[in-house]
C-alpha cells in the first residue's frame, strides 16, 4: 500500500456484511451502535446476493460475514455459496455459538474459507463476565470442531482492563486450541465500549505489561501460531489509520442495508448514508458521503501538512467527533493533536473508576438508551 492519498476512489477490496444485530452474547465492548434496537428490517437474501455481485464488479475480494451473530441468519450458507462462486475470500466472524458440526459442515460445503472465533477471556469466569452470557464451554467446543475440520482458525480476543492481565493465559489457551493466528486487539471506544469506557480502559502500566508478555511469548514460543497485537491508540500516542483511510478500500453494510465507510460513521452529524436497497454499490462508492473524508482536502492542521498523513489519514473521524465535537479535527489519540489532553483525562478517569456495573449489549438496554446516548464526558 503506497503512502500517497488521492481523491480518486480506489476499490472496495474489503467488504463487511453485518447480517443481523441479533446475537446470543452481550459483550460490553461491542462496536454495534447503541441504538441497534431501533434499526430497520433486515435485508432479504436477494439483496445480499445482489450486493455481492455488484461489489465484485468493483473489485471486492475479501468478504467478512459478521453482525451481531451471522450464524443466526439461516441464509448464511446461500450467501457464502454465492460469494465463493464469485471468487471472494470468505471470512466468518463469529462467537461460535451455534457452530455445531452440521452447520460447520454445511458452511464448508458452501465454500467458506476461514473462521474467526471470538473469545472474551481465558476461562469461563472471565469470558462469561464480559460476554454477559454463559458461552465459554461452547466456544471451546466450536474451536475444537473448527480445527478438526481442518479450517484455519483465527482467535480474536478484545483486550481491556478486565482481561488484559490474563494475556499469558490467553496466549497459552490459543496455542493449546491450535489457533493458526491469534489477534489480541486492544478495545476501540465506539459503540458499547464507549458507554463502558471507564471500566474497560486499561492503565498505561497494564498496556506495557501486556506488550511485554506478547514480546516474551514471541521469543520463547516455537510453534506455528502467529500473534497479531493491535495497540491501544489512547496509550500509543499515534492514531489508528481507520479502515486504511475513509472510502479507500473498505465498505460495510449494516443489517438494514445502510452502507458505511466505517462502523462508527452513523454517529457523525449531518450525514445520511446511502442504502443498498435503494442504490447500486457503484453509486454508493461514488456517493458524496463516501467522498466526504477521502484524500486530504478536508484536513485541518496539524494533519494537513503532517508527514504521517499518508500513513494514518489523521486517525479516526468518528473518534475525532466523539472526543472533540468536530470530525475534521485530528484524532485526539494523536500526540500532535491540540485535543490530546482528553485522552489523558479519560485514562485518569478510568483509573478512578469505582466499580460501576457494565452495561451489557442487548435489546433492552438499546431500547432504553434510544437515540439519547448516555455517554460519559469526552
Amino acid at each position: 500500500m503506497d503512502g500517497s492519498s488521492s481523491s480518486e476512489p480506489e476499490r472496495p477490496l474489503w467488504l463487511l456484511f453485518e447480517l443481523t444485530y441479533r446475537c446470543p452474547l452481550q459483550c460490553a465492548y461491542c462496536s454495534n451502535p447503541l441504538d441497534f434496537a431501533h434499526s430497520g428490517r433486515e435485508l432479504d437474501t436477494e439483496d445480499w446476493l445482489r450486493v455481492l455481485r455488484e461489489a465484485r464488479g468493483l473489485g471486492a475480494l475479501q468478504l467478512g460475514l459478521s453482525g451481531g451473530e451471522p450464524l443466526l441468519r439461516r441464509d448464511l450458507e446461500s450467501i457464502v455459496e454465492e460469494a465463493a462462486r464469485l471468487g471472494y475470500y470468505t471470512n466468518l466472524i463469529t462467537s461460535g455459538i451455534g457452530l455445531d458440526e452440521s452447520r460447520l459442515g454445511a458452511l464448508r460445503e458452501a465454500g467458506l474459507d476461514h473462521v474467526q472465533l471470538s473469545f472474551q477471556g481465558s476461562d469461563a469466569k472471565s469470558n462469561d463476565s464480559i460476554a454477559g452470557t454463559k458461552s465459554f464451554e461452547a466456544k471451546i467446543a466450536a474451536a475444537r470442531r473448527i480445527k478438526k475440520l481442518g479450517y484455519p482458525m483465527v482467535l480474536n480476543v478484545v483486550l481491556h482492563r478486565q482481561n488484559i492481565e490474563s494475556v499469558p493465559k490467553i496466549l497459552s489457551m490459543a496455542a493449546e486450541l491450535e489457533a493458526d493466528y491469534l489477534e489480541l486487539a486492544n478495545v476501540q471506544f465506539g459503540g458499547w465500549a464507549r458507554l463502558n469506557r471507564d471500566q474497560l480502559l486499561p492503565s498505561l502500566a497494564q498496556v506495557e505489561r501486556a506488550e511485554a508478555e506478547v514480546a516474551r511469548f514471541r521469543t520463547d514460543y516455537q510453534g506455528a501460531m502467529r500473534v497479531f497485537y493491535v495497540v491501544s491508540d489512547y496509550h500509543e500516542g499515534r492514531p489508528k489509520p481507520c479502515t486504511a483511510g475513509w472510502g479507500r478500500t473498505f465498505m460495510q453494510i449494516t443489517p438494514d442495508g445502510t452502507a458505511l465507510p466505517c462502523h462508527g460513521a452513523q454517529s457523525l452529524p449531518g450525514m445520511s448514508f446511502p442504502r443498498v436497497d435503494r442504490a447500486s454499490v457503484r453509486a454508493i462508492w461514488e456517493s458524496p458521503e463516501f467522498e466526504r473524508f477521502r484524500g486530504e482536502s478536508w484536513m485541518k492542521e496539524p494533519c494537513r501538512t503532517c508527514p504521517e498523513r499518508g500513513k494514518d489519514f489523521g486517525g479516526c473521524r468518528c473518534q475525532a467527533y466523539a472526543l472533540t465535537g468536530d470530525p475534521t479535527n485530528a484524532d485526539p489519540a494523536c500526540s500532535l493533536s491540540p485535543h490530546h489532553g482528553v485522552v489523558a483525562t479519560a485514562i485518569a478517569r478510568a483509573a478512578g473508576e469505582d466499580r460501576h456495573p457494565l452495561t451489557f449489549r442487548n435489546r433492552a438496554s438499546s431500547r432504553r438508551l434510544g437515540d439519547k446516548h448516555v455517554l460519559p464526558q469526552a
Binding site: 476499490r11 477490496l13 474489503w14 468493483l58 473489485g59 475480494l61 475479501q62 471468487g87 475470500y89 471470512n91 474459507d113 476461514h114 474467526q116 479450517y151 484455519p152 483465527v154 493466528y181 502467529r226 497479531f228
Partner: protein
C-alpha cells in the same frame, strides 16, 4: 525468523492461501484471512509453480526459462524466503 532455503526443499503455497488472477487489477493476487497481496509478474510465476508442492530447484529451472537472458536463482530464492517469512509459502520437510 528467516528460513534459509535449500534448493532441494519442497515448498508450497500455505494452506488456505488462495492464488487468483484478478482481472480488475490485471495481476495475480494472494488472498488469506487478514490480507490481500498484489503479486508482480515474477512473484506470480513463482507462486503459480508451488500451488502444489515443488522442489525449489525445479521452480528455479522453470522460472529461468521465462527469463533466458539473466540468472534468476537468487531472485527466486529471495522471493521464496520473503514469502516464507510472511507465511504465504511453507516448507514441507520430508
Amino acid at each position: 525468523m528467516t528460513a534459509t532455503l535449500l534448493v532441494d526443499d519442497l515448498v508450497r503455497v500455505a494452506p488456505h492461501h488462495r492464488l487468483r488472477w484478478e482481472e480488475a487489477q490485471g495481476c495475480y493476487v494472494l488472498l488469506y484471512p487478514e490480507g490481500i497481496v498484489q503479486l508482480n509478474e515474477t512473484a506470480a510465476e513463482i507462486m503459480r509453480r508451488c500451488e502444489q508442492a515443488k522442489v525449489v530447484a525445479s521452480i528455479m529451472r522453470e522460472v529461468q526459462t521465462l527469463y533466458p537472458e539473466e540468472p534468476v536463482d537468487d531472485d527466486v530464492r529471495a522471493f521464496l524466503e520473503e514469502a516464507i517469512s510472511h507465511g504465504w509459502v511453507i516448507i514441507e520437510r520430508a
